[in-house]
Protein backbone atom coordinates (compact mmCIF):
# COMPACT_ATOMS: atom_id res chain seq x y z
CA UNK A 1 0.00 0.00 0.00
CA UNK A 2 1.40 3.37 -1.00
CA UNK A 3 0.76 6.67 0.65
CA UNK A 4 -2.61 8.24 0.07
CA UNK A 5 -2.56 10.69 -2.81
CA UNK A 6 -5.71 12.73 -2.45
CA UNK A 7 -6.70 15.72 -4.48
CA UNK A 8 -5.52 18.02 -1.73
CA UNK A 9 -2.93 19.71 -3.86
CA UNK A 10 -5.28 20.59 -6.70
CA UNK A 11 -8.36 21.91 -4.89
CA UNK A 12 -9.68 22.78 -1.46
CA UNK A 13 -10.42 19.54 0.39
CA UNK A 14 -14.03 18.87 1.35
CA UNK A 15 -12.94 18.10 4.90
CA UNK A 16 -9.68 18.83 6.69
CA UNK A 17 -9.45 17.58 10.26
CA UNK A 18 -6.27 18.32 12.14
CA UNK A 19 -5.25 17.39 15.65
CA UNK A 20 -8.81 16.86 16.82
CA UNK A 21 -9.06 15.63 20.40
CA UNK A 22 -12.32 15.07 22.18
CA UNK A 23 -12.65 14.28 25.87
CA UNK A 24 -15.85 13.84 27.82
CA UNK A 25 -15.84 14.40 31.56
CA UNK A 26 -17.54 11.53 33.39
CA UNK A 27 -17.82 10.54 37.03
CA UNK A 28 -14.91 8.15 36.63
CA UNK A 29 -12.65 10.74 35.09
CA UNK A 30 -12.17 11.88 31.53
CA UNK A 31 -13.02 9.66 28.59
CA UNK A 32 -10.89 10.15 25.50
CA UNK A 33 -13.32 9.79 22.61
CA UNK A 34 -10.79 11.02 20.07
CA UNK A 35 -7.07 11.62 20.32
CA UNK A 36 -5.12 13.73 17.84
CA UNK A 37 -7.10 12.75 14.76
CA UNK A 38 -5.95 14.00 11.36
CA UNK A 39 -7.97 13.33 8.23
CA UNK A 40 -8.29 14.93 4.81
CA UNK A 41 -11.19 14.12 2.50
CA UNK A 42 -10.79 15.38 -1.04
CA UNK A 43 -13.55 17.00 -3.07
CA UNK A 44 -15.83 14.33 -4.45
CA UNK A 45 -14.09 11.58 -2.52
CA UNK A 46 -15.99 8.78 -0.75
CA UNK A 47 -14.47 7.96 2.64
CA UNK A 48 -15.82 5.50 5.20
CA UNK A 49 -15.03 5.54 8.91
CA UNK A 50 -15.06 2.08 10.40
CA UNK A 51 -14.21 0.69 13.80
CA UNK A 52 -15.63 -0.99 16.88
CA UNK A 53 -18.20 0.73 19.08
CA UNK A 54 -16.69 3.52 21.08
CA UNK A 55 -13.89 4.31 18.64
CA UNK A 56 -15.30 7.79 18.18
CA UNK A 57 -16.25 7.50 14.50
CA UNK A 58 -19.70 8.98 15.05
CA UNK A 59 -18.21 11.65 17.28
CA UNK A 60 -15.73 12.54 14.54
CA UNK A 61 -18.57 12.82 12.02
CA UNK A 62 -20.58 15.02 14.37
CA UNK A 63 -17.56 17.24 14.96
CA UNK A 64 -17.18 17.67 11.19
CA UNK A 65 -20.89 18.59 11.10
CA UNK A 66 -20.42 21.08 13.96
CA UNK A 67 -23.02 19.21 15.99
CA UNK A 68 -20.30 18.83 18.64
CA UNK A 69 -17.24 20.98 19.38
CA UNK A 70 -13.87 19.28 19.73
CA UNK A 71 -11.90 19.79 22.92
CA UNK A 72 -8.82 20.62 20.83
CA UNK A 73 -7.91 20.76 17.16
CA UNK A 74 -9.55 22.25 14.14
CA UNK A 75 -11.96 21.23 11.40
CA UNK A 76 -12.31 22.87 8.02
CA UNK A 77 -15.08 22.13 5.55
CA UNK A 78 -14.55 23.53 2.07
CA UNK A 79 -11.85 25.74 3.56
CA UNK A 80 -14.21 27.29 6.13
CA UNK A 81 -14.70 26.61 9.82
CA UNK A 82 -17.13 23.80 10.57
CA UNK A 83 -19.57 26.29 12.08
CA UNK A 84 -19.49 28.55 9.04
CA UNK A 85 -19.98 25.52 6.79
CA UNK A 86 -23.00 24.43 8.84
CA UNK A 87 -24.55 27.88 8.69
CA UNK A 88 -23.84 28.04 4.94
CA UNK A 89 -25.33 24.56 4.51
CA UNK A 90 -22.25 23.18 2.80
CA UNK A 91 -23.11 19.68 3.93
CA UNK A 92 -26.15 17.43 4.15
CA UNK A 93 -26.45 15.05 7.08
CA UNK A 94 -28.15 11.63 7.03
CA UNK A 95 -28.73 10.17 10.46
CA UNK A 96 -28.92 6.62 11.73
CA UNK A 97 -32.68 6.97 11.96
CA UNK A 98 -34.42 8.56 9.00
CA UNK A 99 -35.89 11.19 11.35
CA UNK A 100 -38.71 12.14 9.01
CA UNK A 101 -41.62 14.26 10.18
CA UNK A 102 -44.61 11.92 10.21
CA UNK A 103 -47.15 14.71 9.76
CA UNK A 104 -45.62 15.89 6.51
CA UNK A 105 -45.85 14.23 3.14
CA UNK A 106 -42.73 12.64 1.70
CA UNK A 107 -42.29 15.64 -0.59
CA UNK A 108 -42.75 18.16 2.23
CA UNK A 109 -40.10 16.27 4.18
CA UNK A 110 -37.63 16.67 1.34
CA UNK A 111 -38.63 20.33 1.08
CA UNK A 112 -37.87 21.01 4.75
CA UNK A 113 -34.29 22.31 4.30
CA UNK A 114 -35.39 24.48 1.37
CA UNK A 115 -38.36 25.81 3.31
CA UNK A 116 -36.08 26.69 6.22
CA UNK A 117 -33.86 28.72 3.95
CA UNK A 118 -36.61 30.62 2.24
CA UNK A 119 -36.69 28.96 -1.16
CA UNK A 120 -39.95 29.88 -2.95
CA UNK A 121 -42.69 27.27 -2.94
CA UNK A 122 -42.73 26.37 -6.62
CA UNK A 123 -38.95 26.03 -6.77
CA UNK A 124 -39.05 23.91 -3.60
CA UNK A 125 -41.62 21.65 -5.13
CA UNK A 126 -39.77 21.00 -8.38
CA UNK A 127 -36.48 20.45 -6.56
CA UNK A 128 -38.11 17.94 -4.20
CA UNK A 129 -39.63 16.05 -7.12
CA UNK A 130 -36.24 16.00 -8.84
CA UNK A 131 -34.66 14.51 -5.70
CA UNK A 132 -37.42 11.96 -5.21
CA UNK A 133 -36.85 10.95 -8.80
CA UNK A 134 -33.17 10.53 -7.97
CA UNK A 135 -33.88 8.18 -5.06
CA UNK A 136 -36.64 6.41 -7.00
CA UNK A 137 -39.56 7.53 -4.87
CA UNK A 138 -41.37 10.01 -7.13
CA UNK A 139 -44.52 7.87 -6.96
CA UNK A 140 -44.61 8.22 -3.19
CA UNK A 141 -44.37 12.02 -3.03
CA UNK A 142 -47.83 12.47 -1.49
CA UNK A 143 -47.64 9.59 0.97
CA UNK A 144 -46.73 10.03 4.60
CA UNK A 145 -43.58 8.47 6.09
CA UNK A 146 -45.36 5.87 8.29
CA UNK A 147 -46.73 4.31 5.10
CA UNK A 148 -43.19 3.68 3.80
CA UNK A 149 -40.82 0.83 4.57
CA UNK A 150 -37.61 1.48 6.50
CA UNK A 151 -35.49 1.47 3.35
CA UNK A 152 -37.79 3.92 1.61
CA UNK A 153 -37.78 6.23 4.63
CA UNK A 154 -34.00 6.20 4.62
CA UNK A 155 -34.00 7.11 0.92
CA UNK A 156 -36.30 10.04 1.67
CA UNK A 157 -33.84 11.13 4.36
CA UNK A 158 -31.00 10.95 1.83
CA UNK A 159 -33.02 12.99 -0.66
CA UNK A 160 -33.58 15.55 2.11
CA UNK A 161 -29.84 15.64 2.85
CA UNK A 162 -29.20 16.34 -0.84
CA UNK A 163 -31.85 19.06 -1.08
CA UNK A 164 -29.47 21.98 -1.22
CA UNK A 165 -26.93 20.31 -3.48
CA UNK A 166 -24.29 20.07 -0.77
CA UNK A 167 -20.70 19.41 -1.79
CA UNK A 168 -20.38 17.15 1.24
CA UNK A 169 -22.65 14.40 2.48
CA UNK A 170 -22.17 13.19 6.07
CA UNK A 171 -23.80 9.86 6.85
CA UNK A 172 -23.99 8.18 10.24
CA UNK A 173 -24.79 4.49 9.72
CA UNK A 174 -27.81 5.35 7.59
CA UNK A 175 -28.34 1.72 6.56
CA UNK A 176 -27.75 0.23 10.01
CA UNK A 177 -31.37 -0.74 10.59
CA UNK A 178 -32.01 -2.26 7.16
CA UNK A 179 -32.02 -5.91 6.16
CA UNK A 180 -29.09 -7.18 4.10
CA UNK A 181 -30.86 -7.21 0.72
CA UNK A 182 -32.25 -3.70 1.09
CA UNK A 183 -28.90 -2.59 2.37
CA UNK A 184 -27.01 -3.76 -0.71
CA UNK A 185 -29.55 -2.11 -2.97
CA UNK A 186 -29.23 1.13 -1.01
CA UNK A 187 -25.44 0.96 -1.27
CA UNK A 188 -25.65 0.69 -5.04
CA UNK A 189 -28.07 3.63 -5.06
CA UNK A 190 -25.75 5.68 -2.90
CA UNK A 191 -22.74 5.01 -5.14
CA UNK A 192 -24.83 6.16 -8.11
CA UNK A 193 -26.15 9.25 -6.30
CA UNK A 194 -22.69 10.24 -5.06
CA UNK A 195 -21.40 9.86 -8.61
CA UNK A 196 -24.22 11.90 -10.12
CA UNK A 197 -24.04 14.73 -7.59
CA UNK A 198 -20.25 14.77 -7.36
CA UNK A 199 -20.50 15.26 -3.59
CA UNK A 200 -17.81 14.08 -1.22
CA UNK A 201 -19.12 11.58 1.32
CA UNK A 202 -18.00 10.74 4.83
CA UNK A 203 -19.78 7.55 5.78
CA UNK A 204 -19.78 5.93 9.24
CA UNK A 205 -20.44 2.19 9.31
CA UNK A 206 -19.92 -1.03 11.25
CA UNK A 207 -19.96 -3.18 8.15
CA UNK A 208 -16.70 -4.04 6.44
CA UNK A 209 -18.21 -5.06 3.04
CA UNK A 210 -20.32 -1.91 3.08
CA UNK A 211 -17.30 0.31 3.71
CA UNK A 212 -15.26 -1.44 1.01
CA UNK A 213 -18.02 -1.42 -1.58
CA UNK A 214 -18.79 2.27 -1.14
CA UNK A 215 -15.47 3.93 -0.52
CA UNK A 216 -12.40 5.23 -2.25
CA UNK A 217 -10.67 4.98 1.12
CA UNK A 218 -11.64 3.18 4.32
CA UNK A 219 -10.48 4.85 7.52
CA UNK A 220 -9.98 2.23 10.23
CA UNK A 221 -10.28 3.46 13.81
CA UNK A 222 -9.58 1.91 17.21
CA UNK A 223 -11.07 2.79 20.59
CA UNK A 224 -9.74 4.08 23.92
CA UNK A 225 -8.62 6.58 22.87
CA UNK A 226 -10.37 6.86 19.50
CA UNK A 227 -7.75 7.25 16.77
CA UNK A 228 -7.10 6.40 13.17
CA UNK A 229 -4.98 3.25 12.98
CA UNK A 230 -4.89 2.73 9.24
CA UNK A 231 -6.28 4.03 5.98
CA UNK A 232 -7.03 1.38 3.35
CA UNK A 233 -7.20 2.40 -0.32
CA UNK A 234 -9.90 0.63 -2.29
CA UNK A 235 -8.97 0.80 -5.98
CA UNK A 236 -12.01 -1.05 -7.31
CA UNK A 237 -13.04 1.34 -10.07
CA UNK A 238 -16.70 1.68 -10.97
CA UNK A 239 -18.93 -0.28 -8.61
CA UNK A 240 -21.40 -2.76 -10.03
CA UNK A 241 -23.10 -5.79 -8.50
CA UNK A 242 -20.21 -7.87 -9.91
CA UNK A 243 -17.82 -5.86 -7.77
CA UNK A 244 -19.11 -7.71 -4.72
CA UNK A 245 -17.87 -11.00 -6.14
CA UNK A 246 -14.50 -9.86 -7.45
CA UNK A 247 -11.23 -11.07 -5.86
CA UNK A 248 -10.11 -7.45 -5.39
CA UNK A 249 -13.24 -6.79 -3.33
CA UNK A 250 -12.45 -9.72 -1.03
CA UNK A 251 -8.81 -8.71 -0.83
CA UNK A 252 -9.83 -5.24 0.31
CA UNK A 253 -12.27 -6.73 2.84
CA UNK A 254 -9.48 -8.89 4.23
CA UNK A 255 -7.17 -5.91 4.46
CA UNK A 256 -9.75 -3.85 6.38
CA UNK A 257 -10.58 -6.80 8.64
CA UNK A 258 -6.94 -7.32 9.52
CA UNK A 259 -6.51 -3.63 10.13
CA UNK A 260 -9.46 -3.77 12.51
CA UNK A 261 -7.83 -6.68 14.34
CA UNK A 262 -4.64 -4.66 14.49
CA UNK A 263 -2.66 -7.39 12.72
CA UNK A 264 -0.57 -7.98 9.61
CA UNK A 265 1.72 -5.00 9.52
CA UNK A 266 -0.86 -2.63 10.92
CA UNK A 267 1.96 -0.69 12.50
CA UNK A 268 3.62 -0.08 9.16
CA UNK A 269 0.33 0.98 7.59
CA UNK A 270 -0.44 3.24 10.49
CA UNK A 271 2.91 4.92 9.97
CA UNK A 272 2.09 5.34 6.31
CA UNK A 273 -1.31 6.75 7.07
CA UNK A 274 0.10 9.19 9.58
CA UNK A 275 2.82 10.18 7.15
CA UNK A 276 0.32 10.80 4.40
CA UNK A 277 -1.69 13.20 6.43
Amino acid sequence: MTTTETSTQTSTPAVAVSGVTMTFPTRRGEVHALAEVDLVVGAGEFVSLIGPSGCGKSTLLRIIADLQRPTRGSVEVNGKTARRARLDQDYGFAFQQAGLLDWRTVRANVELPLQLHGVPRSERRSRAMELLELVGLADFADQRPPQLSGGMQQRVAIARALAESPTLLLMDEPFGALDEMTRERMQAELVRIAGETGAAVVFVTHSIPEAVFLSDRVVVMSPRPGRITQIVEVPLGDRTEDTRESPEFFAAITEVREALRGRAGAGKHAANAQGAL
Binding site: R86, Q89, F95, Q96, G99, L101, L116, P146
Partner: protein, 265 residues
Protein backbone atom coordinates in the same frame (compact mmCIF):
# COMPACT_ATOMS: atom_id res chain seq x y z
CA UNK B 1 -72.63 -3.23 1.12
CA UNK B 2 -69.77 -5.65 1.28
CA UNK B 3 -66.26 -5.52 2.67
CA UNK B 4 -65.09 -2.40 4.43
CA UNK B 5 -68.43 -0.51 4.78
CA UNK B 6 -70.15 -3.60 6.19
CA UNK B 7 -67.29 -4.16 8.61
CA UNK B 8 -67.40 -0.50 9.65
CA UNK B 9 -71.14 -0.77 10.22
CA UNK B 10 -70.66 -3.91 12.32
CA UNK B 11 -67.98 -2.17 14.37
CA UNK B 12 -70.28 0.83 14.82
CA UNK B 13 -73.17 -1.39 15.93
CA UNK B 14 -70.84 -3.13 18.33
CA UNK B 15 -69.92 0.22 19.84
CA UNK B 16 -73.45 1.60 20.08
CA UNK B 17 -75.74 -1.30 20.96
CA UNK B 18 -74.28 -2.50 24.29
CA UNK B 19 -74.26 0.91 26.05
CA UNK B 20 -77.75 1.76 24.74
CA UNK B 21 -79.13 -1.56 25.97
CA UNK B 22 -77.43 -1.13 29.32
CA UNK B 23 -78.80 2.42 29.61
CA UNK B 24 -82.33 1.21 28.92
CA UNK B 25 -82.01 -1.51 31.56
CA UNK B 26 -80.74 1.01 34.14
CA UNK B 27 -83.60 3.43 33.36
CA UNK B 28 -86.15 0.65 33.63
CA UNK B 29 -84.73 -0.49 36.99
CA UNK B 30 -84.66 3.11 38.20
CA UNK B 31 -88.28 3.69 37.17
CA UNK B 32 -89.43 0.33 38.62
CA UNK B 33 -87.69 0.85 41.98
CA UNK B 34 -88.94 4.42 42.39
CA UNK B 35 -92.54 3.37 41.67
CA UNK B 36 -92.41 0.05 43.53
CA UNK B 37 -90.84 1.44 46.72
CA UNK B 38 -92.72 4.74 46.41
CA UNK B 39 -89.50 6.77 46.68
CA UNK B 40 -90.19 10.48 47.28
CA UNK B 41 -89.16 12.83 44.48
CA UNK B 42 -86.77 14.80 46.79
CA UNK B 43 -84.87 11.56 47.31
CA UNK B 44 -84.92 10.40 43.73
CA UNK B 45 -87.22 11.52 40.94
CA UNK B 46 -88.56 8.94 38.50
CA UNK B 47 -87.26 9.09 34.92
CA UNK B 48 -90.78 9.61 33.58
CA UNK B 49 -91.32 12.61 35.90
CA UNK B 50 -88.01 14.09 34.77
CA UNK B 51 -88.90 13.52 31.12
CA UNK B 52 -92.27 15.14 31.78
CA UNK B 53 -90.47 18.25 33.05
CA UNK B 54 -88.21 18.25 30.00
CA UNK B 55 -91.14 18.10 27.60
CA UNK B 56 -93.07 20.70 29.62
CA UNK B 57 -90.31 23.35 29.45
CA UNK B 58 -88.12 22.45 26.48
CA UNK B 59 -87.46 26.05 25.41
CA UNK B 60 -86.52 27.25 28.93
CA UNK B 61 -84.09 24.37 29.40
CA UNK B 62 -82.64 24.88 25.94
CA UNK B 63 -82.27 28.62 26.57
CA UNK B 64 -80.55 28.01 29.90
CA UNK B 65 -78.29 25.45 28.23
CA UNK B 66 -77.55 27.97 25.49
CA UNK B 67 -76.51 30.61 28.03
CA UNK B 68 -74.33 28.23 30.02
CA UNK B 69 -72.98 26.78 26.79
CA UNK B 70 -72.01 30.21 25.49
CA UNK B 71 -70.17 30.99 28.73
CA UNK B 72 -68.42 27.65 28.53
CA UNK B 73 -67.49 28.13 24.87
CA UNK B 74 -66.15 31.67 25.25
CA UNK B 75 -64.21 30.74 28.37
CA UNK B 76 -62.91 27.60 26.69
CA UNK B 77 -61.67 29.46 23.63
CA UNK B 78 -59.96 32.14 25.72
CA UNK B 79 -58.42 29.57 28.06
CA UNK B 80 -57.17 27.42 25.20
CA UNK B 81 -55.70 30.29 23.19
CA UNK B 82 -53.93 31.75 26.22
CA UNK B 83 -52.80 28.27 27.33
CA UNK B 84 -51.28 27.39 23.96
CA UNK B 85 -49.64 30.78 23.43
CA UNK B 86 -48.18 30.90 26.92
CA UNK B 87 -46.92 27.32 26.62
CA UNK B 88 -45.29 28.17 23.29
CA UNK B 89 -43.67 31.23 24.88
CA UNK B 90 -42.47 29.18 27.87
CA UNK B 91 -41.01 26.59 25.53
CA UNK B 92 -39.24 29.27 23.50
CA UNK B 93 -37.95 31.29 26.47
CA UNK B 94 -36.61 28.71 28.91
CA UNK B 95 -36.31 31.12 31.86
CA UNK B 96 -39.98 32.01 31.56
CA UNK B 97 -40.89 28.33 31.48
CA UNK B 98 -39.00 27.72 34.71
CA UNK B 99 -40.79 30.67 36.32
CA UNK B 100 -44.34 29.96 35.17
CA UNK B 101 -44.70 26.17 35.12
CA UNK B 102 -44.65 25.65 38.93
CA UNK B 103 -47.21 28.41 39.35
CA UNK B 104 -49.56 26.76 36.88
CA UNK B 105 -49.08 23.44 38.68
CA UNK B 106 -50.09 25.22 41.89
CA UNK B 107 -53.07 26.75 40.11
CA UNK B 108 -54.10 23.27 39.02
CA UNK B 109 -54.15 22.16 42.65
CA UNK B 110 -56.84 24.62 43.79
CA UNK B 111 -60.44 23.96 42.80
CA UNK B 112 -60.91 26.66 40.17
CA UNK B 113 -64.61 27.07 40.95
CA UNK B 114 -63.56 28.50 44.33
CA UNK B 115 -62.65 31.63 42.41
CA UNK B 116 -66.25 32.14 41.27
CA UNK B 117 -67.47 34.22 44.26
CA UNK B 118 -64.33 36.33 44.25
CA UNK B 119 -64.52 37.08 40.53
CA UNK B 120 -68.22 37.78 40.79
CA UNK B 121 -67.70 40.56 43.30
CA UNK B 122 -64.91 41.90 41.14
CA UNK B 123 -67.00 42.22 38.00
CA UNK B 124 -70.51 42.62 39.41
CA UNK B 125 -73.57 40.45 39.63
CA UNK B 126 -75.05 41.38 36.27
CA UNK B 127 -72.11 40.37 34.12
CA UNK B 128 -71.23 37.07 32.46
CA UNK B 129 -67.55 38.00 32.65
CA UNK B 130 -66.83 36.30 36.02
CA UNK B 131 -68.25 32.97 34.83
CA UNK B 132 -66.36 33.10 31.57
CA UNK B 133 -63.29 34.02 33.58
CA UNK B 134 -63.71 30.96 35.79
CA UNK B 135 -64.15 28.76 32.71
CA UNK B 136 -61.14 30.34 31.03
CA UNK B 137 -58.91 29.67 34.04
CA UNK B 138 -60.21 26.11 34.37
CA UNK B 139 -59.65 25.39 30.67
CA UNK B 140 -56.29 27.15 30.61
CA UNK B 141 -54.63 24.77 33.07
CA UNK B 142 -54.92 21.42 31.20
CA UNK B 143 -54.30 23.18 27.90
CA UNK B 144 -51.11 24.85 29.14
CA UNK B 145 -49.77 21.73 30.84
CA UNK B 146 -50.46 19.39 27.92
CA UNK B 147 -49.16 21.80 25.30
CA UNK B 148 -45.98 22.41 27.26
CA UNK B 149 -45.44 18.68 27.63
CA UNK B 150 -46.02 18.20 23.91
CA UNK B 151 -43.65 21.00 22.99
CA UNK B 152 -40.99 19.59 25.29
CA UNK B 153 -41.05 16.23 23.57
CA UNK B 154 -38.68 16.48 20.65
CA UNK B 155 -36.67 13.48 19.52
CA UNK B 156 -32.89 13.75 19.50
CA UNK B 157 -32.74 13.04 15.78
CA UNK B 158 -35.14 15.89 14.99
CA UNK B 159 -33.18 18.22 17.23
CA UNK B 160 -29.90 17.31 15.52
CA UNK B 161 -31.51 17.47 12.10
CA UNK B 162 -32.66 21.02 12.72
CA UNK B 163 -29.27 21.90 14.14
CA UNK B 164 -27.56 20.47 11.05
CA UNK B 165 -29.93 22.60 8.97
CA UNK B 166 -28.92 25.68 10.96
CA UNK B 167 -32.55 26.26 11.95
CA UNK B 168 -33.44 29.00 14.43
CA UNK B 169 -35.23 28.18 17.68
CA UNK B 170 -38.37 29.80 16.34
CA UNK B 171 -38.22 27.62 13.23
CA UNK B 172 -37.81 24.52 15.40
CA UNK B 173 -40.86 25.60 17.41
CA UNK B 174 -42.95 26.24 14.31
CA UNK B 175 -41.90 23.28 12.17
CA UNK B 176 -41.19 20.54 14.73
CA UNK B 177 -42.42 21.28 18.21
CA UNK B 178 -45.87 22.70 17.40
CA UNK B 179 -46.95 20.04 14.89
CA UNK B 180 -45.38 17.35 17.08
CA UNK B 181 -47.35 18.55 20.08
CA UNK B 182 -50.76 18.37 18.38
CA UNK B 183 -51.72 15.00 19.91
CA UNK B 184 -51.00 16.45 23.35
CA UNK B 185 -52.94 19.59 22.47
CA UNK B 186 -55.95 17.46 21.57
CA UNK B 187 -55.75 15.61 24.88
CA UNK B 188 -55.65 18.97 26.63
CA UNK B 189 -58.64 20.18 24.64
CA UNK B 190 -60.69 17.14 25.58
CA UNK B 191 -60.01 17.65 29.29
CA UNK B 192 -60.55 21.40 28.98
CA UNK B 193 -63.88 21.00 27.15
CA UNK B 194 -65.34 18.84 29.91
CA UNK B 195 -63.99 21.17 32.60
CA UNK B 196 -65.43 24.18 30.78
CA UNK B 197 -69.02 22.92 31.02
CA UNK B 198 -68.61 21.85 34.65
CA UNK B 199 -67.10 25.23 35.58
CA UNK B 200 -69.74 27.20 33.67
CA UNK B 201 -72.62 25.38 35.38
CA UNK B 202 -71.14 25.22 38.87
CA UNK B 203 -70.07 28.87 38.90
CA UNK B 204 -73.75 29.79 38.54
CA UNK B 205 -74.47 28.29 41.97
CA UNK B 206 -72.73 31.27 43.53
CA UNK B 207 -75.30 33.77 42.28
CA UNK B 208 -75.04 36.43 39.63
CA UNK B 209 -76.98 36.32 36.36
CA UNK B 210 -80.02 34.05 36.54
CA UNK B 211 -80.07 32.66 33.04
CA UNK B 212 -78.11 29.40 32.99
CA UNK B 213 -78.48 25.72 33.76
CA UNK B 214 -76.70 25.99 37.10
CA UNK B 215 -79.12 28.67 38.24
CA UNK B 216 -82.06 26.58 36.98
CA UNK B 217 -80.87 23.48 38.86
CA UNK B 218 -80.51 25.29 42.19
CA UNK B 219 -83.65 27.39 41.61
CA UNK B 220 -85.85 24.34 40.90
CA UNK B 221 -84.37 22.49 43.85
CA UNK B 222 -85.10 25.45 46.15
CA UNK B 223 -88.66 25.45 44.85
CA UNK B 224 -88.85 21.73 45.73
CA UNK B 225 -89.52 20.88 42.08
CA UNK B 226 -87.01 18.07 42.07
CA UNK B 227 -87.95 16.56 38.69
CA UNK B 228 -87.47 20.08 37.30
CA UNK B 229 -83.98 20.23 38.83
CA UNK B 230 -83.19 16.82 37.37
CA UNK B 231 -84.43 17.98 33.97
CA UNK B 232 -81.92 20.84 34.09
CA UNK B 233 -79.23 18.35 35.15
CA UNK B 234 -80.11 16.32 32.06
CA UNK B 235 -79.59 19.51 30.04
CA UNK B 236 -76.12 19.88 31.60
CA UNK B 237 -75.32 16.27 30.74
CA UNK B 238 -76.27 16.84 27.11
CA UNK B 239 -74.27 20.07 27.02
CA UNK B 240 -71.22 18.32 28.45
CA UNK B 241 -71.53 15.53 25.89
CA UNK B 242 -71.81 18.07 23.07
CA UNK B 243 -68.59 19.75 24.17
CA UNK B 244 -66.82 16.43 24.52
CA UNK B 245 -67.96 15.31 21.07
CA UNK B 246 -66.90 18.63 19.55
CA UNK B 247 -63.45 18.17 21.08
CA UNK B 248 -63.30 14.63 19.66
CA UNK B 249 -64.31 15.97 16.25
CA UNK B 250 -61.53 18.57 16.35
CA UNK B 251 -59.10 15.81 17.27
CA UNK B 252 -60.26 13.69 14.34
CA UNK B 253 -59.90 16.63 11.96
CA UNK B 254 -56.45 17.53 13.24
CA UNK B 255 -54.96 14.07 13.64
CA UNK B 256 -57.08 12.02 11.27
CA UNK B 257 -54.81 12.27 8.27
CA UNK B 258 -51.81 11.19 10.34
CA UNK B 259 -53.13 7.97 11.73
CA UNK B 260 -53.31 6.13 8.45
CA UNK B 261 -52.47 2.60 9.42
CA UNK B 262 -49.51 0.87 7.85
CA UNK B 263 -51.40 -2.39 7.52
CA UNK B 264 -53.70 -0.97 4.87
CA UNK B 265 -50.82 -0.52 2.46
Amino acid sequence: MTGAPAAALRRCTGLVVPPVLFGIVVLALWQGLVRLLDVKSWVLAAPTDIWHEVTAHPSQIAEAAGNSGLNALIGLVIGCVVGVLLAALCSRVTVLGHAITPLVAALAAIPIVCLAPVLMHLYGLTSAVPRRGVVAIAAFVPMFINTLRGLGEISTVHQELMSSLAASRTAVLRLIRLPGSLPHLCTGLRVAASLAVISAVVSEYFGGLQNGLGFRISDQAHATNYPGAWAAVLGAVVLGLLFFLAALLVERLVLGRRSVSVSRQ
